[in-house]
Structure formats: C-alpha cells, structure tokens
C-alpha cells in the first residue's frame, strides 16, 4: 500500500462523530532501553492546530517521546496514534505528514543551501520542478533567498536554524515537531524563528515543541506538559499552571556564602502560612506572599539591595514541580 492510499484510508473523524480528530493521541505510552524506562506510561492528547509544548529537565523522556511520535524509535508499550494513524504500522504515512526540526543541525554539509532542500524533497516523492518552487518559496519565508547557493558552513547559527526549519516545511507538514528550535541562538535570531512559527501556526499547522526556555514555551504554547523521570507531572495552559503552582509575585533574595540555610530558618517565622521557599543556586525564591509578609521578609534580610520582587513565570512552575532547585 502506498503512503497516499494509507493517508486516504485514515479515519476522517473521531469515533463520536466529531469533525476534528486529534493529531496526536498516546495512551499508556512507554519507552524502555534495556532496564531503563525513559517514558513510563504517559497519556498525550494534542488537538489539531494546537501549539503544544513539552518541558522537562534533561533525561525526563521528552526526546524519547518525540522519537516515538516521529516513528524513529519503536514504541515499547501502550498506544500512539498520529493523525489517526498507528505509529507501529503506518510509519511511512505518518512521517510524510510530519516536519521535524531536530535538536542538532543535521543539514547535509556536502550540499549547498538550495541543494539541501531539493535532495530532502526526493524522500517525500516531490517532483523536481515542484521541489524547486517550494524551496524558492521557503527560502523567501526564512529570509535566505540571497544565500541559495551558499555552502552550509558559511551560514551563521541563526541562518542554519532557519534553513533547518525550511527543510522541515518542504513536505507542507500538518504537524511540525520542534526539538529545542532556538537553542544557541541570539535574541534577534530567536525572535525571527518565533515569528515564523507563529505565522505557520496561523495557517493551521499543529505544533509540538520541546524547549528549555520557559519564556519560549510561555510565549508560544497554548498548552504544555511538564515531564520528569518519564512521567507527566503537570499539564495545562501556561497561565493556569503559573496561577496554580507559583501564584502572584515572587520575592527573590540573593544569599551570601553559606547563609542560605540560616535565612530559610529566620524567614520561616515572619512568613505567613502558604508561602513557600525554594533554593535555586545562590537565590531564594519565596512564593505565595501577601504584601505584609513580603515587608516582614525584607526586614529580616535587612539589606534591600539583595531583594527584589517579580511576577511568577513558567520557570518558577518548572523549578517547583521538578524539584531541581532543591536537588542541586
């Protein structure tokens, strides 16, 4: 059966008759490498057109999950459907619907910018002339038209990343998988990538993002999951997660050498019930403060230059839930 036939046979809607089938559905999904369980039975649900983020510390199971969704690694247990197709059977058909921006820039260093896109298009069976048209259009989109003939190693980090994005779009994917798409980019280059992603999203492309930049997830994602040790430990809209797990303003205190433990004790009294303290490096973060408790805490420190107040963000949620602040 050809890929095209398989896609045509894919279920057109949900069993309950809804018109919009989810793009990614996982139930009890597992990935094992020998004795080590990288993904320990997770449920996933990504709607069509959704911008979905997966966060988690290194080794949380994000990359393994992505590898199973992109049909690169076999599933060890559970079920996984992408666009209504089973990853265990219809890998070619699913891969034809996906665009992948991998963590590493694995462009073809032996071919030029345009030639990279043309060579890639052949794997999707895109005819030469059509491949050329799409390549020109995409180079325009990622602002690399004037570099069409350049060698890969002549590109800057930002240009390389944009070319990887263009390559992922050659097959006009319905789902774009972004594995740390802006790691290592300078702020301008990141903003350019974000703008392109938002444009694509507006065209109805479903997005699956992993990132270590909380700001990126907060800005782009409709919904995120936070993974840790192979499990999903939180799920929701970024704003709701912040509200639920970090609350309003955060008091941030820079501690001096070795005084962290003493300060935590000293603060325990003045802080009202419900306030929580996290240690992150040489910083103490105090969550769930009311104004009076905040003033009392600043009095305890005595030095106003070492304290500051800011709004809670996704990073606070991440640090609290994964316990990274406490562990390291």
């Amino acid at each position: 059966m050809t890929v095209e036939q398989t896609i045509a046979q894919a279920p057109a809607g949900r069993p309950d008759g809804g018109a919009d089938p989810p793009m990614i559905v996982g139930r009890g999904l597992r990935k094992r490498y020998g004795d080590f369980e990288a993904v320990a039975g997770i449920d996933l649900h990504v709607a069509r057109g959704e911008f979905f983020g997966m966060l988690g510390p290194n080794g949380a199971g994000k990359t393994s999950t992505i590898a199973m969704i992109t049909c690169v690694l076999p599933v060890s247990g559970g079920e996984l459907h992408v666009a209504g197709l089973d990853v265990q059977r219809d890998d070619r058909a699913i891969k034809a619907l996906l665009g992948v921006v991998p963590q590493n820039n694995n462009l073809d260093p032996d071919l030029g910018v345009l030639a990279n896109l043309i060579a890639y298009a052949r794997f999707y069976g895109i005819p030469g002339r059509e491949a050329r048209r799409r390549a020109d259009e995409l180079l325009e989109l990622v602002q690399l038209s004037d570099r069409a003939g350049a060698a890969i190693d002549e590109l800057s980090g930002g240009m390389t990343r944009r070319l990887v994005l263009a390559r992922a779009l050659m097959n006009e994917p319905r789902i774009l998988v972004l594995d740390e798409p802006t790691t290592g980019l300078d702020p301008q280059a990141r903003h350019l990538v974000w703008t392109k992603l938002q444009q694509l999203r507006e065209r109805g492309v479903t997005m699956l993002l992993t990132t270590h930049y909380m700001e990126e997830a907060e800005r782009l994602c409709d919904r995120i999951v936070i993974m840790d040790r192979g499990a999903i430990i939180a799920e929701g809209r970024p704003r709701d997660l912040i509200e639920r797990h970090a609350g309003g303003p955060v008091l941030q205190i820079r501690t001096l050498d070795g005084e962290g433990g003493r300060l935590r004790e000293a603060l325990a009294g003045p802080l009202a019930d419900g306030a929580r303290i996290e240690t992150v490096g040489d910083l103490l973060y105090i969550y769930g403060l009311d104004e009076a408790a905040g003033r009392r805490a600043v009095d305890v420190i005595g030095d106003p230059y070492r304290t500051s107040t800011r709004h809670a963000n996704l990073e606070d949620v991440f640090l609290r839930l994964t316990g990274r602040g406490l562990q390291e």
Binding site: V3, V87, D90, L98, N106, R122, N171
Partner: protein, 281 residues
Amino acid sequence: MVSMTARRSRVAGAGWGVRTWLGVALPDRRTIAVVRRHVDVYRELLFINLMLAVAEPTLALLVMGLALGQFVDLGLDAEYIVFVAPGVVAMFAMFSTVGESLWGGYLRLAQQDLFGAMLATPARAEDIAAGEIVWGALRGTISVAAVLMVLAVLTPAWGLIASPLVILIIPVAFLMGLLFAALVIAYIGYARTIHHLMYYFTIVINPIFWFSGAFFPLDQLPGWAQTLGWFNPLTHVVDIFRALSAGDLTWAVAGDVLWLAVVTPPLCWLAIWSLRRRLIR
C-alpha cells in the same frame, strides 16, 4: 496484535504489522532518494572525481605493468602487464567501493548525522542502508568504467583487451560493488570510532587485496593457500575479469559468477540489519 504471523515483527520505527524478513523490512523507492543525494554530491566535483578515477589506475598500470613487469616472469605466454591489467581493474573497483562506504558511510552515520536527517522523512533505516550499498556499488562501477577506458586506450600498444566480452565486466563490477559495499556497511554498524575503520582496512581489506590473484596466479601457491583464496571474493572477481578481457570463457568462470551471486544477497541482508540495529534502538 502480538499474535499476528511470525513474519510480522518490530521494525524501523514501526512495530507489529510491518512485514519483515528476519527482522528487516524490504527497502522501497526511498532507496533511490538516498542514491540521488550521493550523485548530487559526486557531481559537485565531477571533473576532479573523474580525473582521479582515470589518473590513479593509469599510474598503477604503468608502474606495475611496465616497470615492475620487467623483473617479473610468471612463466606465462603473455607480458606481465596483460596479466596484471584485469587485476588492476578489480583492485580499483574494490578500493572505490570500500573508500566510499567505509570512510564516507561512517562519516555520514557518526559525524554528519545525515542518516538521522533521512530517518525524519518517510525513509526507513532499511532504505538508507540499501541506498548506501547501491551507491557504494555504483562508485565501484564508475571506477571500473574509467579503468576500462584507460585499458582501451593502451590496448593498441600492449594488447590488454583481447575480446569485446570485456564490456560484461561492467555488470559484474556492479555485483562485486554490492558485495563489498555490504561487507563494509555491515561493519560500520558496529564501528564506534574512526580508528575502527583503520583496523577493518588492515585486517579485512588488505588481505583480500594481496591474496586475490590480482598480481600473481594463485595456482602456483600451496593447496591450503588456494583453498583460502577460494573464500576471497576478489579472487573470483579477478578470475572473471581476466577471462572476459581475454575472451576465454570457461565453466569455471560461471562458477565464479555463481559464487558472487550466492554470497552477495545474504551480505546485503546483513548490512541492512546491522545499520538498522545501529540507527533504531
């Protein structure tokens, strides 16, 4: 699902439900996309690539055939250069294939993550491995075509080619290329560093090269050495090439072709299995 037929098993990013042969799915048309990528790269430096393909064997022929040949008397009727020319063809075919598949293949696998990029497309590990094998074979075939042209040019002077059957060397060269490319790809699935490639070259390729009958007839060696030579793929290739350029076809040559035809498919399977095992954990 698990109780499906035994032939259906876990495979390249897919699981139960994809038909496999001893753990390997059949490659499909994406194999051609892999090969065409390599052709694109080869064409970028086409002139240099072709010049090298002609210059190297010309030098080798002149040095071995003429310079060395003055001191060699094999007790045959022919000049040494006539004896050694088909061996030179086989030697360059093997080195082209091994060079491309060993160094190039390992580079693409381990350094460039090119196979990782290909796996993100509808291609499976099987297609990538098959594409690598076919391209390795094509490199060998290109080399053979180049050396044959050199031989044709030199034939009026030294009578290197005695028969139009010589043209059949080209399809045999492709078969031989599949064999050697598979032999190498099966190994790079296990190579962990670039040094492992050198070991392979020293331990596997060099003995194949020296004890193939390319430079001296094996039938003047002791019996045990001749037996060992029978297990050397290059021995059979050299015998075929020598027979075709002399126009001296015997049943023994049919046996050599059969040897290659029997050994190559399992090696191709092994190569695909090995690379798949490396790419899909």
